[in-house]
Amino acid sequence: MVDLILQCRWILERRAVMGLLAVNLSLGCAATSWDRVAPPVEMLVLGDAVDDSERKAALERGRMVYLVDCSKCHVPEPILAYSVQDWGHILPEMIEETSLTAEKEADLRRYVESVLQLGADAAG
């Protein structure tokens, strides 16, 4: 027990360790915006005639799947950097390789398709 107390005291005396942690935390404050990569849901439902909260919630979940689950393996790529045809291959391949639940998969598909539609509307 005395050993343990001595060890804890030894650690606490090393304040430099805490300094390093503080530097790292400040780095995290420089948060980036991922809106360019995965447009926020507000952009996707802007033209909706009726307030469809269920659709908004599903799109929000889909966006989080895109940003959180997909980034477990790679940095999220801008959705609109790839064509509809590209996504026709990418989505099935990625979904096959991940362990997404059926709900997450449906939300992800819905979100990506909505973003692609947004891109098509903007181009057309």
């Binding site: 050993d3 393996c73 790679h74 940095v75 990625m94 390789e97």
Partner: protein, 259 residues
């Protein structure tokens, strides 16, 4: 490791082994741990090989290979655990010849508190319990990671307490020592399947918890490639300061396969 314990580990593996495909984790570095965890039900096997050479204290032709066989399991959206079936090594010196040693088996736990993409900073807590016939160790890590565009920045703070060597009259783990380590990493994703980066390590041994030995600094490049259902990551670390009895070069490769 006793046979019953080994059998128990196999049973645990069998329970958790499910026939699913899954992507490899980010794996941009080999010494730094990333914040992300596997999805529930995902399992991954990782094979570690670490070569260490160029010791400064003699001309005895020393080199060493460390091996680790690790299974990682996703338990919940934020929690994963891992089993190290065996950490073992092959040591060589001209005077002693080549020696193969089993060191430890281990359990590892990681809990993700925040995400490196959607939160200001990603943070996870990590614990590891190692046990072997001549060594028992507890290791805690605070894992930080931030993803900014195609860049990933990582930092690990590591604290390890270790008891090893057996004494007279059956006494076990008679020598206690510690280690503090700070790992910094940066990685750039060239394409989704390939990233380049670097890792910097600062390792400070604490013999007998009475004072610190010379901190060992290493730095070197990291390369990572990810295929469908597998990944490979290699880091080459060069010692920035020479410490007697400590290797100057380390080359670590992790090969992962998903189930």
């Amino acid at each position: 490791m006793s046979l019953p314990l080994f059998i128990r580990l196999l049973v645990i593996l069998a329970v958790f082994t499910v026939s699913r495909t899954g992507l490899a984790d980010q794996g941009m570095w080999t010494y730094l741990k990333t914040v992300n965890v596997h999805a529930p039900g995902e399992m991954e096997y990782e094979q570690y090989v670490t070569a260490k050479w160029d010791y400064d204290d003699d001309d005895d032709g020393k080199y060493r290979f460390d091996f680790r066989h690790e299974f990682e399991f996703g338990i919940t959206d934020n929690f994963q655990m891992a089993v190290y079936l065996a950490d073992w090594r092959v040591k060589h010196s001209d005077s002693s010849g080549t020696i193969t040693e089993f060191r430890t088996s281990a359990l590892e736990f990681k809990y993700k508190f925040s995400d490196p993409v959607t939160d200001p900073i990603g943070f996870a807590g990590y614990g590891e319990f190692k046990i072997g016939s001549e060594k028992f160790a507890l290791e805690g890590k605070a894992l930080f990671q931030k993803t900014i565009d195609r860049w990933n920045f990582g930092y690990n703070f590591v604290l390890e307490a270790e008891w090893e060597d057996n004494g007279a009259n059956g006494a076990r783990y008679v020598n206690s020592k510690g280690k503090i380590a700070n790992y910094l990493g940066i990685a750039y994703q060239v394409v989704p399947s390939f990233s380049v980066g670097a890792e910097i390590l600062a390792i400070t041994p604490i013999p007998d918890w009475a004072g610190t030995d010379t901190t060992r600094f290493y730095a070197g490049p990291a390369l990572s490639y990810r295929g469908r259902g597998w990944h490979i990551t290699t880091t080459f670390e060069v010692g920035l300061n020479r410490v007697p009895g400590v290797e100057r070069f380390q080359l670590r490769t992790i090969f992962g396969i998903d189930f």
